[in-house]
Amino acid sequence: MSELVSTIQKVLAETGLVLGWSATGAGGVAAPERFHTAEEAEVAIFDSTCVHNLSVHLPRLKGRAVGIVAKACDARSIVELIAEREVDGDQVRVIEVSCTDTLDVKAIWRRYGYGALIEDDGSELRVNGEPVEREAFVQAKCLDCEDRQPATPAGKPVPSGSKPANARQQLREDFQAMSVGERRAFWREQYARCIRCHACREACPMCYCRDVCIMQTTDPHWTGGGINTAEAEMMQLIRVNHLAGRCTACGECERACPVGIPLMLLMEEQNRAIEEMFDYRAGVDPEAKPPLLTFDIKGDSWDGE
């Protein structure tokens, strides 16, 4: 029995529920799972296809004890949820797994067909038995991850010089070089294919407003009901603003987007600005007071009137 399984079983004895993964996705990749008994937990796995940030389920499970298998990036979301008092830290048992990186499973399947066999030993990636360039299919967020543990003790040399190491870095550089007008045009082209399925919001652990989210409510009526570029632009501006100082850069919005809008490009820019302005990174300290939650509340309204 793996160490992970026995740890989950130990936590289960206390919580009665653990969020983890089994290898029951197509082609044997990871699928999110809820374990209630020691027997159910026997199929628990952790590998580079465990892409989902399971902490998205914590706000929905509020009020009950729960264990959760988490990568370092997922753990930051849990810390931020606790800092925001959305999740009770005493109720959550985090089973942190060490992670080298995770794969962009969707990108692999778009290229090789859904369900293509993915084999990854941490250094060589094989799809349908054929070796493929690993770096091209590692999730963009993982390439920049500070908690990333190299697969081999020596690790790989950090790319240096002017050549961007991957497509995301290239996109980031291209974006930085754009004028404000060009950036607007870039985003409008991206938003043109948004279908407003709200997968970006629903896959985000920090988007827990649910049925009062103003991206959809008619009262207040901040966005119209149409599905078009202008509404998508407004929606994303709302989302980005509401995640200021709260986004832990887990990348789930971008992974969940069914039409490949590079949403993390927006978030990264803002996260950098927040760090510069407030010296604050979301999801690091559960006791921290998030900079944009420091309203001075007097009486019933924010301005004290």
Binding site: Y114, C197, N228, V259
Partner: protein, 367 residues
């Protein structure tokens, strides 16, 4: 059958685009491999290799469509005369039908007429789904509801289908009667062969296209079509699901991975729920729009009082499955699913509807 070579496809589409709006699948730049049906213009690329990330249902059910525009005009203002003259329907305050207050006019501007459209390169599952939607929306002169805007678009639509000789692990069209050889909804079917496509006219509309100079006679035999995954007994769900309705534990269990986004419904070629909403520009002009809505959203059945008859994700997921495999078959005589697999490929939480359907069939067997 007739044959069209691959090189002649752009020319064929160009000829079609001279008299119709043409939609074809293409990979969008900078989208990480997203393939969508887009308006095709001469010179545009076409992707006939990958499955489109979204269905082509926009063609009959646009994401957002204008039902009509309206303008409030006030009697005596210099504004009212001109608008009244340009509008096609005027409800003046002194006529019988006027709901407006004294001196006020509402000018209704109807939506633009539906264009003649060619949908090129859909798969059999998507073509079939149009027929499935027809059962609800398109009943001109017959029994049942007829949606005038839908049926006008449908009337002007020609569907050219690309037959599938391969499939992936998400495909399950073979669970339905005709699988990849389904012809319903198609006007013309193209079968991939060496160097091009064999073409088979299914309807008169499709058959007429074969007389275009792009097609030549051929002795080639059509290729064998894809055999996808099969779930036995989907038609039995219509009887089984009502028995599972009150088993909320079941629905909680099968939906526990779900994060409640709307991709499975928006990517689906048969999901058709919509919202009707007015959008104002300023305080005098507005449009009444119809936009896609999804039963997976918390707000979908939220009532004005605040009560929501489907308060949890499990309630909402139960509705999704029941609508597809129980209510729609009962009311419209068609299963509201064609096995295209998009909800499976695109789900951010790895939820596979086939597992849920198998579980429902299994739960029924136990009882």
């Amino acid at each position: 059958m007739k044959f069209i070579s691959s090189e002649k496809i752009p020319g064929f589409l160009e000829a079609l685009s001279a008299r119709s709006t043409v939609w074809a699948p293409r990979e969008l730049t900078g989208s990480g491999g997203t393939v969508m049906f887009e308006r095709w213009r001469p010179g545009d690329p076409i992707d006939l290799e990958h499955y489109s990330s979204l269905s082509a249902k926009d063609v009959v059910l646009p994401r957002t469509e204008k039902l009509f525009g309206y303008t409030y005009a006030f009697g005596g203002s210099p504004f009212s005369g001109g608008l009244g003259a340009s509008g096609t329907a005027v409800a003046a305050s002194d006529s019988d039908q006027a709901p407006a207050t004294s001196g006020e006019q509402i000018v209704i501007k109807p939506a633009e007429p539906a264009p003649s459209t060619v949908l090129f390169g859909v798969r059999a599952c998507d073509a079939k789904s149009i027929q499935v939607l027809d059962a609800l929306f398109n009943n001109p002169g017959g029994e049942g509801y007829n949606d005038p805007q839908y049926s006008a678009r449908r009337e002007g639509l020609t569907v050219i289908t690309l037959a599938c000789t391969t499939c992936d692990d998400a495909c399950f069209c073979s669970s339905f009667e005709n699988g990849a050889s389904e012809k319903a909804g198609s006007d013309l079917i193209l079968y991939p062969v060496d160097g091009g496509f064999l073409a088979e006219g299914v309807t008169g509309k499709g058959g007429e296209l074969l007389s275009e100079p792009f097609f030549e006679e051929s002795e080639l035999a059509p290729p064998p079509l894809a055999e996808t995954a099969v779930i036995e007994g989907l038609e039995r769900l219509q009887e089984i699901l009502p028995g599972l309705f009150d088993d909320l534990d079941f629905w909680e269990r099968v939906s526990e991975r779900c994060v409640s986004c709307g991709f499975c419904t928006y990517g689906c070629p048969t999901c058709h729920c919509f919202n009707i909403h007015d959008e104002m520009q300023g305080d005098r002009e507005g449009e009444r729009l119809r936009s896609w809505d999804a039963c997976m959203f918390a707000l979908y059945t939220q009532e004005t009082s605040g009560h929501n008859p489907r308060p949890t994700l499990a309630h909402r997921y139960r509705n999704r499955i029941n609508h597809k495999f129980s209510y729609y078959p009962e009311n419209q005589g068609e299963i509201l699913c064609t096995g295209c697999g998009r909800c499976i490929r695109g789900c951010p939480a790895a939820l596979d509807i086939r597992d849920v359907l198998r579980d429902a069939l299994k739960a029924a067997r136990k009882e």
